[in-house]
Symmetry: C2
Subunit: 288 residues, 2 copies
């Protein structure tokens, strides 16, 4: 069946369960509902207050605190949580997954997630790792947005164990959410994302820490932009950093070398080298 | 006379000359005109094309390519240019300055500018160093905005040689432009601004350079925000870096130490230290 060509009322899934009702989970609920991709959307959260808020905002149809009950009978399960929690959740739900279920996630690192979950899941449950490049330094249901994913990239990972039908369906799912899908293997993913997402976060946090204790009342746009992402959830980013630590440590080392080049040029008052450094950077940034 | 209390039609200055018609100079022209702070606004540029564009955009009343002609007879001169060029301009105009003239600048470093210009200017010409914390990675007249300075800070520098009447008038001028004025000495200025403006630029440029040669098509908001300022004018920033090189080199070294802390924690897989690092950064950023 081709879900892309079908009418909007032909649902891709009977029952979708979203585990984790934060910015990503809540926004996904709204997007799935608006695009009528599922007959029923179930939300799972650990917190009673989140459950109440999710219902009042209408991000899902039904909610539950009981993760097993939430997953039971669903044909599509989406795991949204910090990366290490995603793996823990997979362990807890493996026994109640319906035969033929497709499970995906929205974690920012993929090698550890995919490797672990493939080893955990029983036959009859297909896991496809996803990384929608959407989000914000803001977290929680207060910031949900049905268009959060629109026109952004979603990276899908494929392994020798990936079920090709499930992969195709997940690809169509993200496309119907409005995303541009790119597939790659999990190692490639973590290597690329280390540089363009995790390194900027590491740099942003390091800059904030360097400016600790000084009067920031005069901080203008440059400082604010460069440090904005360091305001993101430490718990979320701790897991990301831990599960991509080798790539990130190597990239931090490269960045330190760039900083050292500039530092040396400054100490020597080397006008030419400083100008070359800045021109090169502008060239890279202007190409984005 | 109190210009703040006076009616809008009582001009602060008879003739203002803005040297340099870029984003800052052009926006200042518009702001001065809108607030009727001068009877006449003269713009000086080295380029015929800029002269034409300035007239067609109406950022000033009259324009000239001849810097001496532009300054002659003015009671207020504003120097907008890369920092080292500001000092060169001061040398060129010192002979034609009207007695009683007030001169200010919009340079991002202050110690070198103030020290040099105070030594260059004749008696009867008062220089007060200004640093309006406004601007953008965009440069040139295409981006002029009469509200560029609104609600932003303007840092004024005071030295033992600063004429107190001129200082007071400059303070009122920036306030009427809509800025919040803070005064400090030039050394203090350069030290503070190194951390909250020049270091973010150095970091942003280093991050861009680290990501040189890789596919940036997947770069999302985090990368874009963190590297945005590295798109700024290399010529402008080269002068800023050179004239604040000691402070900046020291701050880059501090930042490298922060990065090393994180790098070590990653290599060791030290969950606690990574979390502490991220929490500390979030605390700093959230306080802005």
């Amino acid at each position: 069946m081709d879900w892309q060509a079908g009418p909007a009322t032909l649902h891709m899934f009977k029952r979708v369960t979203i585990i984790g009702l934060g910015l990503i989970g809540g926004s996904l609920g709204l997007a799935i509902r608006e695009r009528r991709l599922a007959e029923e959307i179930i939300g799972v959260s650990r917190r009673q207050s989140t459950i109440r808020k999710a219902m009042s905002l209408g991000v899902v149809d039904r909610v539950t605190l009981d993760i097993k009950e939430g997953v039971c009978g669903s044909d599509f399960v989406i795991l949204t949580a910090p990366v290490l929690t995603i793996i823990e959740i997979a362990k807890r739900i493996k026994g109640v997954l319906k035969k033929g279920v497709i499970v995906t996630d929205a974690g920012s690192t993929k090698y550890d997630v995919v490797k672990n979950i493939e080893a955990i899941f029983p036959n009859g449950a297909s896991f496809v790792g996803s990384h929608p490049l959407a989000g914000s330094e803001k977290s929680g249901l207060n910031f949900v947005n049905k268009d959060l994913f629109k026109d952004a990239y979603c990276l899908l990972t494929k392994t020798p164990n990936t079920d090709s039908k499930a992969f195709k369906k997940i690809k169509i799912f993200w496309r119907r959410i409005g995303m541009r899908v790119v597939s790659m293997n999990a190692k490639q993913h973590d290597k690329i994302i280390s540089k363009i997402s995790h390194l900027p976060h590491a740099v942003s946090a390091s800059l904030s820490n360097t400016c600790r204790g000084i009067d920031l009342s005069l901080a203008a746009g440059g400082f604010k932009d460069t440090t904005r992402i360091s305001s993101g959830s430490p718990e979320l980013w701790k897991d990301i950093f831990l599960t991509n630590r080798k790539n990130l440590a190597r990239d931090i080392n490269m960045l330190k070398k760039e900083l050292s080049k500039l530092e040396t040029a400054l100490i020597r008052g080397d006008e030419k080298k400083i100008l070359y450094f800045l021109k090169k950077a502008k060239g890279v940034r202007d190409s984005v």
